[in-house]
Amino acid sequence: MRHDDTRPDDDGVGSGGSGPARRRGAPPGAGTEPAVRRGDPRTRSGRAADPVLRAVGLSRTYGRGESTVWAVDALDLDVPAGQTLAVTGPSGCGKSTLLQLFGGLDRPTDGEVWLGGRRIDHLGEQALARLRRRAVGFVFQAFHLMDELTAAENVELPALLAGASPRAARRRAADLLDRVGLTDRARHLPAKLSGGQRQRVAIARALVNEPLVVLADEPTGNLDSAATHEVLRLFDELRAGGQTLVMVTHDERVAATADRVVSMRDGMLADDTRLDDGVGSGGSGGGPRRSGASSELGALLGWEG
């Protein structure tokens, strides 16, 4: 049974369950969770190339005093290059906040965020904006396309912001719209597109500056199952192309398409599962892991034993 060779869970993941970083009472079950141990990512840095994303003791609180809410609580996490990571958890567990911290949309209360080997948590809005347009592509649940711009213009937007020439931006946008299969919709305004089409435009837009990482916040949250299928296929292609991708989702079926799933509870990591047969942190491409697919399915259907 392949289930039994579960990788140890000390893979750069920690719940922050012990040590001086804890600033709250012991979390529920913290003491009885031997399987989730605090791992210090710094000890791993020599083992692989620098991770694209790294959180060290990351915390983000809202409010003060008694009413303080710990959206993210002393969290450590590494995302190696080429990995697709799904962050799941119940609503309010802090997964969206984590994504915003990773993308420089929000600043942590404490701890460090590293993006592409550079620490970003102390950068100003201006520097973050520059970083975002170069290194990060966002995909949102609500798409967040500019309503007044056409699909192609939306895709061009980050390229133009990053200083690309209009001609280069147009060419890249055309390529990407072709990739997401929307060439014939390039001149449509978002209002004239279906939800799935809008999200594909948003994905093309996120990719236009060839970012280090694509951050997707509930990318299928507003989509029906057919559109979800389209978006997930697109993500699968990105994964095959070696694109680092972090997506936040409450949908286990979406999370299951990632290389790795971490689940969060109360601002901390509760679980970390590799789904890519442990190919390794730098593992790229979905090719090898697809080979032995049917054994699990066979078990599900009761054709084994």
């Binding site: 039994d4 979390p27 031997p34 079926r253 999370a255 299951a256 398409t257 599962t273 009761g302 034993g305």
Partner: protein, 180 residues
């Protein structure tokens, strides 16, 4: 059933009546059809297999005399093995639920660890199902089947989320499960 009864005896020896009461509490309305006879039959079979042994007979002030059973060494081994192995991809909800209850009662395993492991199993299965689904047209016959499999796995995963919540809340209260 046999494994559950064994696990319930792991912490301390007990008699059939008490075992039935604890099973009924864990199963709620689903446990109603369970009668004392079934528990005694199970105990008798386990005893024959050499997994349990009758230790003594309690004579309460009122009511019938009760046979108190305890685990043998072989029984201990069997329980430990059961706790260590997964329930399998097609296990149903009550099966895993009883295992969690038994784990908490016996103290042989951490229910949260079991949940986590189960979650990983299901996640992997779901990953396979989803990968297969992405390779197929969603409207094809195969796609439909895969969708059904994925939805069931998703339902199981969501239930596990509820298990994790409940058991971690109990763990923090420090009573390690105990009688519900």
């Amino acid at each position: 059933m046999q494994d559950v009864v064994l696990a319930l005896l792991a912490k301390e020896p007990s008699h059939g009546y008490d075992l039935r009461r604890r099973l009924a509490a864990a199963l709620g309305p689903l446990g109603e059809p369970l009668n004392a006879g079934q528990v005694y039959v199970t105990l008798t079979r386990l005893e024959k297999a050499g997994l349990v042994v009758q230790e003594r007979e309690d004579a309460p002030v009122r009511g019938p005399r009760r046979k108190v059973y305890g685990l043998t060494a072989a029984g201990q081994e069997r329980v430990a093995a059961w706790m260590a192995e997964g329930v399998g991809p097609r296990a149903d909800v009550s099966e895993f639920h009883l295992k969690l209850v038994a784990a908490a009662e016996s103290g042989l395993a951490d229910p949260l660890a079991l949940v986590r492991r189960r979650r990983q199993e299901l996640m992997r299965s779901l990953a396979e199902a989803q990968r297969a689904a992405l390779a197929h047209d969603a409207n094809s016959e195969a796609g439909l089947l895969l969708e059904g499999i994925a939805l069931r796995l998703q339902a199981d995963l969501r239930w596990l989320e509820a298990c994790a919540r409940t058991w971690s809340a109990r763990a923090s209260r420090g009573n390690g499960g105990g009688d519900a």
